[in-house]
Symmetry: C2
Subunit: 452 residues, 2 copies
C-alpha cells in the first residue's frame, strides 16, 4: 500500500504521508491493510472454498484490528496460504503500524524527522526520542521472544496431536494469535475441545496477558525490575489488571459453576477452576474461549460485556476504554465522595484535566456502543443480549461471540467492521489529541498515565 506504487517513489509517498494529519494517515494505513488483506483472501488458491467479497473484507478487518470475530470457518475454509495471510495481518495489526513505519523509513534511509517522531510517539504515547527508539527495539525483542517461546511450549501439545510439520505451524499460529490478542484459531471449534489441556490454559493466557498489558509496561518492568522504581502508569496497569483478572475469574466461576452448558460439564473443582480461569481472563481483549459463550447465563454475559468494554492496556493490542481509564474513573468517584478535587494513586497525583480526557473517552465509547447496538437492532433480527455482546466484543476488539457473527447481514457486517475499526484506531486517534494537547502547555510535576 505504501511501497512501490510505480511513478511516485516510496520516499516521496512516505514523506507525504507524514505530512497529512497523523490520525488520518494512521486510519488510512489501517484501512489500506484491510483492503490489501481482503484482496489477498480473494486470490485464486488462497482459500479452500471461495470467499465472498463481504467474507474476505470482514475477515481482513477482524484480523488487522486483532478482533477475531469470524464469519469464515477457519478449520475448513483456510488452506496454508490463507492461514499465512491471516497470520501476517494479525501481526501487522498487533505490532502497531507505527513501529512498522519507522522500520520502513530506517530501511529506506529516510531520515526519521520531527514529524515522524511525533507520528510514532502518538501510537506509543512516548515523547522522548531516545526512549522511543529503544522501545521499538524492545517491542521487536519482546514480540519475537514471547511468540517463539509460546510456540515452542504449545508445540508440546500440538505436535503429538497433529504431527511435526502441521503441529509446529499450528503452534506458531496460536502463539502469534494469542500474543497479539487476535483470538483466531485454525480449528473449527476454536479451543473448545482443548478446554482441559493444561498447556493451553497456561501458555495462551500468559501470552495474551503479556501482550495486553502494553509495551510501555513491559519495557518499564524489564528495565526497572523493582516495584518501587516503576512508573505510575505501570503500577496502575499491573495492579488494575491483577484485580480485574481475579474478579473475572472468581465471578465466572461463581456464576457458572453448576451450569451444564459451561463449567458444569467438567468434573471436579480443579478442572472447573482452570476452565473458569481461561474464561475469566479472555474477555479483556484476547477473544479465545474454551466454553460456548452462548451457553452462559445472562448475568455472566453482562459481566463479560463489562470486562470487554474495559479492555486491557494502552499501547497494547487491546481495544476498549483501557484499564487506566477505568482506574481513573474509579479514583475520580472515590475522590468525589471524599470531597477532594485531587486524585491520588501510589503517592502521585493525577490532574483534573486527566478526568476531562477520561470523561471524553467514556462519552465517546458509550456513544459508539449505543449507536452500534441501535443500528444492529434497527437493521436486523437478533436477541438483544447477543447483539449487545457482539458490539461490546467488536468495540473491545475481543472477538468473543454468542453466535451472532454468523447471522450478520451485510449492513450488520458493515456496522461491526466500523466498530472494530473505531475500537482499534479510535483510541489511537484520541491518543493523538491526548499527546499533543499537553505539549505546548506548562508541564505539571504529576505522574503521567496513558488514557488512550
Amino acid at each position: 500500500m505504501t511501497l512501490g506504487l510505480g511513478s511516485i517513489s516510496a520516499h516521496r509517498l512516505l514523506r507525504r504521508l507524514l505530512h497529512i494529519s497523523p490520525p488520518l494517515s494512521l486510519a488510512g494505513l489501517y484501512a489500506g491493510f484491510i483492503l490489501l488483506g481482503g484482496l489477498c483472501f480473494k486470490l485464486p488458491g488462497a482459500m479452500l472454498g471461495e470467499l465472498s467479497w463481504s467474507d474476505a473484507f470482514f475477515t481482513a478487518a477482524s484480523a488487522v484490528t486483532v478482533t477475531g470475530l469470524s464469519v469464515v470457518d477457519a478449520g475448513t475454509q483456510f488452506n496454508l496460504l490463507g492461514e499465512a495471510v491471516l497470520l501476517v495481518l494479525i501481526q501487522l495489526g498487533g505490532l502497531g503500524l507505527m513501529t512498522f513505519a519507522v522500520l520502513v523509513l530506517a530501511a529506506l534511509k529516510v531520515p526519521v524527522g520531527l514529524t515522524g517522531q511525533i507520528y510514532l510517539s502518538e501510537e506509543l504515547n512516548q515523547s522522548s526520542m531516545h526512549r522511543l527508539m529503544r522501545l521499538v527495539k524492545r517491542i521487536f525483542q519482546v514480540v519475537l521472544v514471547c511468540e517463539l517461546a509460546g510456540a515452542a511450549l504449545l508445540a508440546t501439545s500440538f505436535v503429538p496431536m497433529l504431527g511435526l510439520g502441521r503441529g509446529l505451524w499450528v503452534s506458531l499460529f496460536h502463539a502469534v494469535s494469542a500474543f497479539n490478542n487476535a483470538g483466531f484459531s485454525t480449528f473449527s471449534d476454536g479451543l473448545v475441545p482443548l478446554a482441559a489441556d493444561p498447556i493451553i490454559n497456561i501458555v495462551i493466557p500468559a501470552l495474551f496477558i503479556v501482550g495486553g498489558v502494553g509495551y510501555v509496561v513491559i519495557d518499564d518492568v524489564i528495565r526497572n525490575r523493582r516495584w518501587g522504581r516503576f512508573s505510575l502508569h505501570t503500577k496502575i496497569m499491573l495492579s488494575g489488571s491483577t484485580i480485574l483478572i481475579f474478579w473475572g475469574w472468581g465471578a465466572f466461576a461463581a456464576l457458572e459453576w453448576h451450569n451444564p452448558g459451561t463449567l458444569g460439564q467438567f468434573d471436579g473443582a480443579p478442572l472447573r477452576l482452570m476452565v473458569a480461569w481461561f474464561q475469566g481472563v479472555t474477555p479483556r481483549t484476547a477473544g479465545f474461549n474454551t466454553v460456548e459463550m452462548a451457553e452462559m447465563h445472562d448475568s455472566t454475559a453482562l459481566m463479560v460485556i463489562s470486562l470487554m468494554l474495559i479492555g486491557a492496556g494502552p499501547t497494547s493490542t487491546a481495544g476498549g476504554i483501557k484499564v487506566t481509564t477505568f482506574v481513573v474513573m474509579c479514583l475520580a468517584t472515590v475522590a468525589f465522595f471524599q470531597r477532594r478535587t485531587q486524585l491520588n494513586a501510589f503517592g502521585r497525583s493525577i490532574g483534573l484535566h486527566e478526568v476531562l480526557k477520561v470523561m471524553a473517552l467514556t462519552a465517546i465509547s458509550v456513544i459508539v456502543v449505543f449507536v452500534g447496538v441501535f443500528l444492529l437492532a434497527a437493521t436486523q433480527e437478533g436477541h438483544f443480549l447477543d447483539v449487545s455482546f457482539e458490539v461490546a466484543s467488536a468495540f473491545g476488539t475481543v472477538g468473543l461471540s454468542r453466535g451472532f457473527t454468523g447471522e450478520l447481514t451485510d449492513p450488520g457486517r458493515a456496522v461491526i467492521v466500523a466498530i472494530m475499526f473505531i475500537g482499534r484506531v479510535g483510541p489511537l486517534t484520541l491518543g493523538y489529541f491526548l499527546a499533543t494537547r499537553s505539549v505546548p502547555r506548562v508541564r505539571y510535576p504529576e505522574g503521567r498515565i496513558h488514557l488512550g
Copy 2:
C-alpha cells in the same frame, strides 16, 4: 413517622433529625413514607382486593419515588380510599420532603435554624436563605396552580366520559400524577385507550414537562421572564430539554411509523405525529404511555432507555443522571476535542471540578444500572432487553415497562425498589456532597449549575 410518637415530643424529634447526617435523614424520611404508605394500603377497606405485603410496599415505594411501575391493577384493585392514599404518597414524594419539613417546622413554630437551612438547601441546591423561603412559597404556588389548572382542563375530557363526581376526581388524580411525573393512572390500561384524545396529548405532557424541568428553573423563568436574564442553569435546562424533546419525538416517529403495534395502528400523519409526541416526551421521567411499550422495536426501546437514563431536571420530580449532567458530559467531550481545558456555555465557564462531579455521578449511575440488571438476570428469568428497560425505568423513576413488572419475583421486586429508591434519593444525597463541598472553598466567578 416524624410526628407524635408519644413520649418524645415532635419538637425534639425534629430537632434531633436535623442533627443527623442530612443525607441519612433524607433517606430515612423517604423510607418512613414508604413504610407508612405500605401499611395504609394494608388497612381494611383501603383496597377492593386484598394486597399482599409485597404488593403493598412495592406500590408505596413506586408512589413515593414517583416512579409509577405497578404490580397492582389500578383499575380494578383500588377503591377511592386506596386512590387517595396513592395520590397523597405521590404528592409527598413529588413535592420533596424538605419543602414539607420546613412547613412542618414553621407550623410547629420551631425556629428554622442554620442546620435546617442547610438541610433544605441541599434538596433545592439553594444557598441563599432569602431566595430559599421565596422558592418554597413559589413551589406551592406553582404546584397548586398547575395541578388545579391541569385538573380543570382534563375535566373537559374526563367529566363527559365518567360523570361529574368521578370525572373530577379522575381529572385531579391524573393532574397530580402528571405534574409530579408519577405516571400512575386510575385506569387498567393507563392512557392507552385515550391515545388519540387531543386534551390528553396536550395537558398531560405540559404538566409533566413543567414538573420535570425543576423548581429552580420555573422560579427563574417566572421572576426574570427574559432569556438574557436567566441563569446558566436555566439556559442549559431549557435548551437541553428542548433538544431532547424534539430528538425523542422525531426518533420515535421515524422508528415506529409503520409498526402496526404502535404508530402504525393510527390513521394519518397528524394522528401518528401526536401519538409519537406523547411517547417522545414521556421517557425522560413521566412514565405515562399511550401505546404498548412491549410492541416497540428493539432499536426504539434502546433509544427510550437512553432517554430514561438521562432523565429531566435537578430539583424536580425526575430521576436519572439529569439533563445538566448530560450537557456537561457533552461539553466536556467537545472541549476535549477542541483541546480546551475549559468548558463554556452561554458565555459562562464551567469549572473542571464540575467535570469531576459529572464523572462521579455517571460512574455511580452506570454501576447502579449494571448491578441492577445483573441481579435481576441472575435471580430470575426474563428477556434481557425487558430487564434492562425495567432497570433503566426504575433508575430514572420513569415507570415505563415492557410488561416485566408483573413477572418480578419477590427478590426481583426488592431489587427494583432499591433502584427506585436510589434513583430518587441518590441524586439528592449526591446533591448534599455537591452543595457542601464548594462552601468552604474559594468561590470562582463561574456560572453555577446543578448536577444532582
